[in-house]
Amino acid sequence: MLVILCPHCGPRNSDEFSFQGEIVARPGPASDQETWRDYLYMRDNVAGWQTERWFHVSGCRRFLNVERHTVTNEIGVVTPVGGVQ
C-alpha cells in the first residue's frame, strides 16, 4: 500500500484516495478539434516522475497534486490544488 502525505489530513493509505491520472492542461473553449482530442485522450504515460491528480475520497475530499515515480511508485511532493486554503 502506498502512503500519501495529504497536506490536509497527514499520512494516509492510498486506498483512501482515488487516482485521477496525469495532469493535462484544459484548452480554451475556442480551441480546435485536434487540441480537444489531445486533451481528452492523448497521454504521455511516462515511465518516471509524473505529476498527477488524486482525490482524497475518504478524507478531506479535496483534490491534490501528487508527484510519483511510475516505475518505483515512490511518492514525492504532495500539494493542494490551487494553493493552500
Binding site: M1, D15, E22, R37, D38, N45, V46, A47, T70, V71
Partner: protein, 418 residues
C-alpha cells in the same frame, strides 16, 4: 517446416528410447544491418505477426526485437482466457476469428497449445447486468456466435460449487453462457509462434531493446537498438504496456495509460470446476487449469504504474470475492501472485493501424484482454503490412477513431472478464 524438427508422438517415443537430444527450437542470429520489417516486442502479438508475415505473405526478412526474453510481458503473465462473446458487432466478429484460429493452432504450428474449450460463464448478480447479458447474447447470435443467457439451475449443473442459493450478498440470477470459450496454454502459444516463425526464416532477437527510431521526411528509416542500428522502412509496435514509450520514439502520442493487472494461483487439486467463471460485480474470475490449480484474476490496479509488484490488498480483496462465489474453497491455499502491465485505452478497444509516420504501425491497446486476440491480430497486422492498408476486420480499431469520435464501446464486455 523442417521435417527433422517436427514434433510427433512417434518422435517422442523414439527420442525416449534413444535418449537423443531435441534440436534447438529456434536459432540465435547476428543482427543484420537491415531488415524489411522490424517488429518490436516478443509477445504473442509480435511473434504471431512475424509468423503470418512469413507464412501468408512470404515476407521473411523480418526481425522481432525483444528487450528481455520472449513472453516476458503480458503474454507470459495472463490468465489465458479465450472467448468471443463481446458487446459490439465489430468486436465479436474480430475475436471470433481468433477463436477459429485457436481451434486449429496446435496443428498449424505443430505445437500443443492445449486449447481447452471449457465454456465461459459470466454471472449476473443484478437485473441490470442480466439485461447487459441478454444484449450481448443477441449481438453474438447475429454474428453466429454460440452465446445465450442461462438460469440458476443450469448454472448449478455446469458449476456445482457456485453458491446459487438466495442468501448471498451477490445472488446469482443468471449468466451469459458461451460454450466455445476456454483457456489455452499461454507459454505454448508464444513458443509455438516463435518456433514456427523462426523455421520460416524470421530472426528472433532476445535481449535486444529498441532505443530510438529515426524518421526521415515523414518515413521510418532506422530502428536503433541496444545491439546496433537496423535500416528498415517498416516498424511494428507490439509492446503493450510499453507502447507509449516506443511510439514516442517516432514522435507519436497514444491514448494509452499503463496499468498493472494482478493474478493469483492456488495449489493444484482434483478437477472440480469445468467452465471459466466470471463475475463483473465482484471484480473477479476463476478457471481451473489442466494441472488442477485455480487461476484467479481481477480488474486493473487502482492507479497507473509500470511496476509489476503484487500487493496484499489485491490478495485479500480477491479472497473475499472468490469466497462469496465459492464458499467451499475456503481451505485452499494460494501459491503465487504476480502482475503484468496493461495498455488501457479509453474505449476498451485495441489500436491497430498506421500512424502519422509512414511505415510505423501500431498493434497496441490490448489492455487486459489481448492474449486471445494474438492470432487474429497477427494475421490482420501481417496483411496490413503486406498491403500497406488495414483490412475490413481491423478498420474500426484505427488510431484516427479518437479524432473522428468513432470510439468503440466495449467496456461492458471487457472491463473484468478478460
Amino acid at each position: 517446416m523442417n521435417q527433422k524438427a517436427r514434433f510427433s508422438a512417434w518422435g517422442l517415443f523414439k527420442r525416449g528410447l534413444t535418449r537423443s537430444h531435441w534440436p534447438r527450437v529456434w536459432d540465435h542470429h547476428e543482427l543484420r544491418d537491415s531488415y524489411d520489417v522490424v517488429i518490436v516486442g516478443g509477445g504473442v502479438h509480435g511473434l504471431a505477426t512475424a509468423y503470418y508475415l512469413a507464412r501468408n505473405h512470404g515476407i521473411t526478412n523480418v526481425a522481432v526485437v525483444e528487450k528481455s526474453y520472449i513472453g516476458s510481458g503480458g503474454s507470459g503473465r495472463n490468465t489465458a482466457i479465450v472467448r468471443s462473446n463481446y458487446l459490439t458487432p465489430e468486436g465479436s466478429k474480430f475475436y471470433d476469428r481468433s477463436v477459429e484460429l485457436y481451434e486449429h493452432l496446435a496443428a498449424d504450428l505443430n505445437f500443443n497449445v492445449m486449447f481447452e474449450q471449457r465454456g465461459h460463464m459470466t454471472l449476473a448478480h443484478s437485473d441490470s447486468s442480466l439485461r447487459t447479458m441478454r444484449w450481448r447474447a443477441e449481438v453474438n447470435k447475429l454474428q453466429g456466435i454460440d452465446s445465450s443467457v442461462i438460469g440458476p439451475e443450469e448454472i448449478k449443473s455446469l458449476a456445482p460449487f457456485l453458491d446459487t442459493s438466495d442468501h448471498p450478498r451477490y445472488p446469482i440470477l443468471g449468466a451469459l453462457w458461451h460454450p466455445p470459450g476456454g483457456i489455452v496454454r499461454h507459454d505454448a502459444v508464444v513458443w509455438g509462434y516463435a518456433r514456427a516463425a523462426a523455421a520460416l526464416g524470421v530472426h528472433i532477437h532476445q535481449g535486444t531493446e529498441l532505443t530510438g527510431i529515426e524518421v526521415e521526411s515523414g518515413r521510418v528509416a532506422v530502428a536503433q537498438t541496444s545491439r546496433g542500428d537496423i535500416a528498415t522502412s517498416t516498424i511494428v509496435n507490439c509492446t503493450a504496456g510499453w507502447a507509449s514509450l516506443v511510439a514516442k520514439m517516432a514522435g507519436v502520442r497514444l491514448p494509452i495509460i499503463t496499468r498493472p493487472l494482478q493474478a493469483a494461483v492456488t495449489e493444484p487439486v482434483r478437477q472440480f470446476l469445468h467452465p471459466v467463471v466470471v463475475s463483473g460485480s465482484l471484480h473477479t474470475y476463476v478457471s481451473q487449469t489442466a494441472r488442477g490449480e485455480l487461476v484467479f484474476g481481477a480488474s486493473v490496479d487502482p492507479f497507473a504504474s509500470y511496476s509489476t509488484r503484487g500487493s496484499l490488498e489485491f490478495a485479500t480483496g480477491l479472497a473475499t470475492h472468490v469466497l462469496e462465489l465459492m464458499p467451499a474453497i475456503s481451505k485452499m491455499r494460494m501459491l503465487r501472485q504476480w502482475a503484468g502491465l496493461c495498455d488501457m485505452t479509453p474505449d476498451f478497444g485495441p489500436i491497430i493501424g498506421p500512424t502519422p509516420v509512414d511505415g510505423f504501425y501500431v498493434d497496441v491497446g490490448w489492455g487486459t484482454y489481448g492474449f486471445k486476440a494474438g492470432p487474429v491480430a497477427g494475421e490482420s497486422v501481417a496483411e496490413m503490412v503486406a498491403n500497406g492498408r488495414p483490412g475490413s476486420l481491423i478498420e474500426p480499431f484505427g488510431l484516427e477513431r479518437f479524432h473522428a469520435g468513432t470510439l468503440t464501446a466495449e467496456k461492458g464486455a471487457a472491463a473484468v472478464g478478460h
